[in-house]
Amino acid sequence: MKSMDNEFCASALKNTLDEMQRICPEIKATFVLDQNRKLIARGVNTPENTLPRALEVFDEVLEKAEAIGGVEALTVQGTDGRLSISYVDEVYLVTVTSKKADLNYVNTVTRVLVPTVLKLVEKIGSASIKRDMPTTEPELEAPAEVIEEPKASLVEETEPEKDEKEAEPEQKLDTTFTEPPVNQFIAEEIKGLLVSSDTVRIDNSVIEQWKELYEGREIEEADVETFAGKSLRCKVKPIKDGKFEGQGKIQLPNKLLLVLDIKKGELVRVKPAIE
């Protein structure tokens, strides 16, 4: 969910819920909430007027259920049907079925279709990012390039021009809620006894930019993606050695170079992992 376009996701989910209600008429109502318990989509036969109150009720239960670690699933069995909520791939799927419903069938439909669509939407989302990338082979000597972030913001870190700094957050907010910023770096191997095998190191200024974009949230992980399509989520920390600062390099331990199947000098894309 994190990297997908919300509108596209909502539309895909809406179609899925509609289809679920069509092939399974015993599903009287179905809708999907995001992690913040906001409605993303509802099925065609789901009564709209009931939803605002239902959302309030869910909100209350889900909040109180923190006492048992948060809700993964909830079922209310009634004499004429049942309501169930399941937490699937970072969304809450709610279904209300009639008494006649074949629960195995309903569960098969809901628990297979929705996660599949969510995964598909996420894949399509990341594929569209790839399509937006330049198709020409990037030069190895090319300096790190911020794709979705104006490069000027790097300079602003060192030049405390008040006006520019004040104007900056607004620009950044627009990008924050669409896609995480993608930066390109040149891979560099990091060696040493104390090198952590699951951590990459990049310019601190980039990490600081990400933190600013996400309103001070600690960025502890990043997704590293090669141009061959391999990607990996790993811990991210600032480069320690000052001489590598500002060179657009990413330091990776040998193990991660092998996993990503890249060599020193190759370009990779890096974006913050925001949950």
Binding site: L74, G78, K99
Partner: protein, 131 residues
């Protein structure tokens, strides 16, 4: 005279003062709950009716949180049943990451049983429905 359990704790549920009271609870129900308490993975229960509540939980520090969750779940289930018209509420199962809760009403009594995720909900449910 019914012996008071040492783990039993008096609680005050939201908007409804409740006190420890065992004599008003159905004996059979209490007996079954005592048996359920010894099932694998069961960590305790809350039994409530209009005038009293009996709580037996292994984690006393969580009593208020669990009691609030229990009463919220009952109220929410009633409201959702009204909104989506799925009839009278028979039982509620909330699966949490750490624990799960089974709630149901037996006559005037509202029961919530808390158990670990690997516990057998169906077995508990059958036992309670057999009252």
């Amino acid at each position: 005279m019914v012996k008071k359990r040492k783990e039993a704790v008096e609680v005050t549920a939201p908007q409804e003062a409740v006190a420890i009271e065992s004599s008003t609870c159905d004996d059979k129900l209490r007996e079954n709950l005592e048996e359920i308490k010894n099932y694998d993975g069961v960590v305790g229960y809350i039994l409530r009716n209009t005038t009293s509540a009996s709580i037996d939980l292994k984690e006393p520090a969580k009593i208020v949180d669990y009691a609030t969750l229990s009463s919220t779940a009952f109220a929410a289930a009633e409201e959702l049943s009204r909104l989506f018209e799925f009839g009278d509420v028979k039982d509620i199962v909330v699966d949490g990451k750490n624990l799960k809760m089974l709630s149901l009403a037996v006559d005037e009594n509202k029961i919530s049983v808390f158990m670990e995720n690997n516990a057998d909900v169906e077995k508990v449910l059958k036992k309670l429905e057999n009252v």
